[in-house]
């Protein structure tokens, strides 16, 4: 009997906004002018936050921090496709997602300052605490999606992770679960080309990360992660599809980590300046500005206002975070269980 091909696949890649600010009208998602301006304002706010966080760390006013520089469009473009009622499972490099969802800025500074209270998600938001062990949040997304469907809630669950995260077993198990049960999850991979010092080629031999989804029976798509229109479009379609009950989607945002891995890292040890410079030219915020300028949505005055507003918000958040009283030592006991154990009660007396 002859050999036959029983399966083939194609991976789509979406690019809408180029580096010069030209947008492909045929692919452009439906966005009003105020919506586009909101994109720009949140991008600016996130970058301002990030910049301040790095300087606070340098000044010894904050702990180790993972910068989002260069990845703002991937984070904000995807988060803008979500509703407040959707559930979000981030990793540790998603400050842009938190900011877009409306998470209080001062609490983010508080968390990175080493204070647990900063990840007590305010009521009305369903964004989970920063997840440090790589990839371990992905099963939660599958489970929450299953629960939402069981309860009849028409929500989507967004799950964020990096290119490195796709090597962990948890990631594959969650993708499989989502595929088998057609769960309402959107898996959002920020492929920023590096996992600390390990390049993307060391995580997988496959040509794209998007094609991982094929093995689990659902669609994987790659987008230019520095193009907020492409990220938004793919995310919006995936979120709508999840809400309709049409199952999971995997989105690979092809982007770049412009900073060191964290403030404890020195990327000069393992990557070239040329590579970093090349990506500088693909800045996600600059290209949106150029687009807006071409379309009469941007001028110097507006820029000044946006920057000042962002700076004021961040300054106030820093002030607020630094003004918060040091946590009480007893706090470390209080939340271990609903009730203290007899031994904890004894231990607390030692404080």
């Amino acid at each position: 009997m002859p050999e036959i091909i029983i399966e083939t696949f194609n991976i789509k890649r979406i690019d809408i906004l180029d580096e010069k600010g030209n947008a492909d009208k045929s692919l452009m998602p439906a966005l009003s002018d105020p919506e586009i301006k909101r994109m720009y304002e949140v991008l600016t706010l996130a970058r301002t936050f990030d910049h301040h966080a790095l300087s606070l760390q340098r000044e010894g006013r904050m702990g180790t921090y993972a910068s989002i520089l260069g990845q703002e469009a991937s984070q904000i473009g995807s988060a803008l496709a979500l509703e407040k009622s959707d559930w979000v499972f981030p990793s540790f490099r998603e400050m842009g997602v938190y900011i877009t969802m409306g998470y209080p800025l001062h609490m983010l500074f508080q968390y990175w300052g080493g204070d647990e209270r900063g990840v007590k998600c305010p009521d009305g938001l369903n964004i989970f605490p920063v997840c440090v062990p790589v990839g371990t949040q992905t099963p939660h997304a599958a489970g929450a999606a299953m629960a939402a469907r069981y309860k009849g809630d028409k929500i989507a669950v967004a799950c964020y992770f990096g290119d490195g995260g796709t090597s962990e077993g948890d990631f594959h198990e969650s993708m499989n679960m989502a595929g088998v049960f057609k769960l309402p999850v959107v898996f959002i991979c920020q492929n920023n080309q590096w996992a600390i010092s390990v390049p993307r080629e060391r995580q997988t031999a496959s040509k794209t990360i998007a094609q991982k989804a094929v093995g689990y029976g659902f669609e994987g798509i790659q987008v230019d992660g520095n193009d907020i229109f492409a990220v938004y479009k793919a995310s919006k379609e995936a979120v709508d599809k999840a809400r309709r009950g049409d199952g999971p989607t995997f989105i690979e945002c092809f982007t770049y980590r412009m900073s060191d891995h964290t403030t404890a890292d020195d990327a000069v040890r393992y990557r070239t300046k040329e590579e970093v410079d090349e990506w500088k030219g693909r800045d996600p915020i600059l290209r949106l500005r150029l687009f807006m300028e071409k379309n009469g949505l941007w001028n110097e005055q507006y820029q000044k206002e946006v920057e000042e507003k962002a700076k004021a918000a961040v300054d106030e958040a820093v002030k607020k975070a630094e003004g918060i009283k040091h946590p009480e030592p007893k706090d470390m006991f209080t939340y271990t269980y609903e009730n203290l154990t007899p031994r904890q009660i004894k231990e607390m007396r030692e404080l």
Binding site: G63, T64, F92, Y111, G113, G114, D115, E116, V130, V132, P133, V134, G135, G164, G165, S167, E168, G169, D170, A195, I196, S197, V198, R202, Q203, T204, A264, D265, R269, Y270, H326, P327, P329, D331, M332, F333, Y335, T336, T341, R343, Q344, E347, E350, L351
Partner: protein, 321 residues
């Protein structure tokens, strides 16, 4: 000539010398190659021994440990690095279900001479899950050895012994000690046997038992007491003889560790003393440990760790008898 090295450099030297001596020794883990490890413990080894022997793996602890098991079964001597002890959990199935058991399951036909190195413990104000001290989990698993150095000198000697050991060894490196002190670490091979504790300081009134970073606080806390201080170094199998000998002399024991108290390794030591040396005791055995809480973030870290003050209180308590 012995040069003054910190613990990072001493471990690096042990790795380098063992790799020079034995072609079957390989290193694998996240960022261990080109980057030289996030703490620089493997610095220079990728350049010297190449990418085939110093392997930057994909980000996946289960396959780091599990493929190390496969390599060991095949006859290599893998040294797997898990970037922080808090990230070892995905690897536990491989370590517990396979590394620890394969000698037993194959009645000695296959063995697993590997080392899993991982930084542990609090004290450098690191992010969440970068400060764990879960040594007791590994001590509970028959088939595994657990080693915790306390100084640059013993780190080198213990690591060489661990690499040459015929069974799997979990080698825990205190992040707080990595760069805290320097001491003379000779070039060339020397070994410190596994399973043997060291009496760091002799004394008559009380025995203080500790390991890793807490040993240093214990040494500060015993000032003014006629205390015998034991550095356990190997937690499993641990040196009961040295402990008995000391406790029989002093009649008092304080055990210090930074892991939470409940189910911590101090419980094992305490029970062993109670079983075999009870009649020599003048006072209850006291454990000074971390609290039974989730390891807090940096702002509360100092309140979690046993302080010199708390250790001293524990000593004073037993000295009342």
């Amino acid at each position: 000539m012995a040069e003054k090295l910190n613990m990072v450099q001493a471990i690096n030297l042990a790795l380098k010398e063992e790799m020079q001596r034995d072609k079957d020794v390989v290193i694998l883990g996240e960022d261990v190659g080109r980057d030289g490890g996030v703490f620089r413990v493997t610095e220079g080894l990728w350049e010297e021994f190449g990418a085939e022997r110093v392997i930057d793996t994909p980000l996946a602890e289960s396959v780091i440990a599990g493929s190390a098991v496969g390599m060991a079964l095949y006859g290599l001597k893998p040294i797997a690095e898990i970037q922080f002890m808090g990230f070892i959990y995905p690897a536990i199935d491989q370590i517990f279900s396979h590394a620890a058991r394969v000698r037993s399951r194959s009645r000695g036909r296959f063995t697993c001479p590997l080392v899993v190195r991982t930084p542990y413990g609090a004290g450098i104000k690191a992010p969440e899950l970068h400060s764990e001290s879960t040594e007791a989990l590994f001590c509970h698993m028959p088939g595994l050895k657990v080693v915790v150095p306390s100084s640059p000198y013993n780190a080198k000697g213990l690591l060489i012994s661990s690499i040459r050991d015929p069974d799997p060894v979990i080698f825990l490196e205190s992040t707080r000690l990595y760069r805290l002190t320097r001491e003379e670490v000779p070039e060339g091979e020397y070994t410190i046997p596994l399973g043997k504790a060291k009496v760091i300081q002799e004394g008559k009134d009380i025995t203080v038992i500790s390991w890793g970073s807490m040993l240093h606080r214990s040494l500060q806390a015993v000032e003014g007491f006629d205390a015998e201080v034991i550095d356990l170094m190997t937690l499993n199998p641990f040196d009961e003889e040295t402990i008995f000998k000391s406790v029989k002399k002093t009649g008092r024991a304080v055990i210090v560790h930074e892991a939470p108290k409940t189910g911590g390794f101090g419980a094992e030591i305490s029970a062993t003393i109670a079983e075999d040396a009870m009649l020599y005791l003048k006072a209850p055995i006291i454990r000074v440990t971390g609290y039974d809480v989730v390891m807090p973030l940096p702002k509360l870290e100092d309140y979690y760790m046993p302080t010199v003050e708390r250790i001293r209180k524990g000593i004073e308590e037993t000295m009342k008898y």
